[in-house]
C-alpha cells in the first residue's frame, strides 16, 4: 500500500471514539477500513523500511512491544474522548480542567514512549533506517490525529 493510499484511507475514515463521533459518518465500510489500516500498518513499515533478514529479526520484536504499549495509551486517550463526549453538552470548568490535564499527560507520555522505542530501534538498525522509521511513524500518527481531530468538536 502506497502512503498516498494510506493517507486517503485515513482521511476518509471515521474513528468510533464517542457518541458524537458515532453520529458522524462512521459506516460499516469505514469500520472495515480502520481494521485494514491497523493490519496494514506493519505492511507499510515492511514495504518502506526494506529490512534485511537480520534487521527484521531485531526490529519486529521491539516494534511489537512499542505497539502494545502504544495501544494502552491509545485506549486511555479514547476513554478521555468518551468522557468528553459524555459531558459535552454540560461541560463544566472542573470537567474541562480534568480532561485537559489528562489529554496533555497522555500526549507527553506518547511522545516519551515514541522517543524511547525509536532510540531502541536506532540501536539495532542503521541510523538512516531508524530515521526513516521515525518519519513513517510521525506521518501515520499525523494522519490518525488529524482524522480524530476532525471528529471531536471544540469545547463550548
Amino acid at each position: 500500500m502506497k502512503l498516498a493510499t494510506l493517507a486517503l484511507a485515513l482521511i476518509v475514515t471515521a474513528f468510533p471514539v464517542a457518541s458524537f463521533a458515532q453520529d458522524a459518518t462512521t459506516s460499516a465500510d469505514e469500520q472495515i477500513l480502520i481494521k485494514q489500516i491497523q493490519t496494514n500498518r506493519r505492511g507499510v513499515y515492511a514495504e518502506y523500511l526494506k529490512l534485511t533478514d537480520a534487521e527484521s529479526k531485531a526490529f519486529w520484536p521491539i516494534y511489537d512491544e512499542y505497539e502494545a504499549k502504544s495501544k494502552v495509551l491509545a485506549d486511555r486517550y479514547l476513554a478521555m474522548v468518551d468522557k468528553f463526549a459524555e459531558k459535552y453538552d454540560t461541560l463544566t470548568d472542573a470537567d474541562g480542567s480534568e480532561i485537559l490535564k489528562e489529554r496533555l499527560k497522555i500526549e507527553r507520555k506518547r511522545l516519551d514512549l515514541k522517543e524511547k522505542y525509536t532510540n531502541r530501534i536506532a540501536k539495532v538498525l542503521p541510523g538512516k533506517k531508524a530515521l526513516r522509521y521515525a518519519q513513517l511513524e510521525a506521518r501515520i500518527e499525523n494522519l490518525t490525529q488529524r482524522n480524530i481531530y476532525t471528529l471531536i468538536p471544540l469545547a463550548r
Binding site: Y48, L91, T92, D93, A94, D95, G96, S97, I99, L100, R103, L104, E107, R108, L111, K114, E115, T118, A122, P126, G127, K128, K129, A130, L131, R132, A134, Q135, L136, A138, R139, N142, L143, Q145, R146, Y149, I152, L154, A155, R156
Partner: protein, 158 residues
C-alpha cells in the same frame, strides 16, 4: 483559516523542489523567517476568532498568547534548521548524521509539547478551563496541519 492555508501553500511551494532544498544550509533563510512570521500572524488571528473570548478574556489572553508565540517561534526556527540540515545532507546522509537529526527531532517535539503544557497552565489562571481546553484543541489542530504540510515537502530518508 484561509490565510493559514495560503501560507502553508507558500511553504509547500518553497520546498517543492528537492534540489532547491538541498541548497540550503542549516541556517534559516530570510524567506523562511518571513513565512514563520506569517504563520504566526495567521495563527493568532485564527485563534482569536475561534476562541470566542469576551473582551475581558481577550485582554487576559493576548499577552500570554503573544509570549507563547514568541517562545514557539524558537521552536519553529529550530524545526526549520533541522529540515535544512536534513535537506543539505539528504543525498549523502550518513548513519551518524541521521541519528543526530533524529535526536534533534525529538528535542523539538518535546520542547513544543512542554511549551503548550506550560502556557495552558498559565492561561488556566486567567481563563475558564473549558476555554483553555478549546485553545489546546485549536493549537493541536493547527500544529497537526503544519506538520502535515512540512511532511509533504520532506522526502523520506533514503
Amino acid at each position: 483559516m484561509k490565510n493559514l492555508l495560503i501560507t502553508l501553500a507558500a511553504i509547500a511551494s518553497l520546498g517543492a523542489a528537492e534540489g532547491a532544498l538541498a541548497q540550503l544550509s542549516g541556517n534559516m533563510t530570510d524567506q523562511q523567517q518571513l513565512l514563520i512570521a506569517q504563520i504566526q500572524s495567521d495563527k493568532r488571528a485564527m485563534m482569536l476568532s475561534t476562541l470566542a473570548l469576551t473582551d475581558a478574556e481577550v485582554a487576559a489572553f493576548t499577552p500570554i498568547y503573544d509570549q507563547y508565540q514568541a517562545e514557539m517561534k524558537k521552536v519553529f526556527t529550530r524545526s526549520g534548521e533541522i529540515m535544512n540540515k536534513y535537506a543539505s545532507n539528504y543525498d549523502s546522509m550518513t548513519d551518524d548524521a541521521a541519528k543526530g537529526i533524529l535526536d534533534e527531532f525529538f528535542e523539538v517535539r518535546k520542547d513544543r509539547a512542554d511549551l503548550l503544557r506550560e502556557y495552558a497552565k498559565k492561561l488556566g489562571r486567567k481563563l475558564p478551563a473549558t476555554k483553555v481546553l478549546r485553545f489546546v484543541q485549536i493549537e493541536n489542530k493547527i500544529t497537526a496541519l503544519l506538520d502535515w504540510e512540512a511532511a509533504q515537502v520532506v522526502p523520506l530518508s533514503k
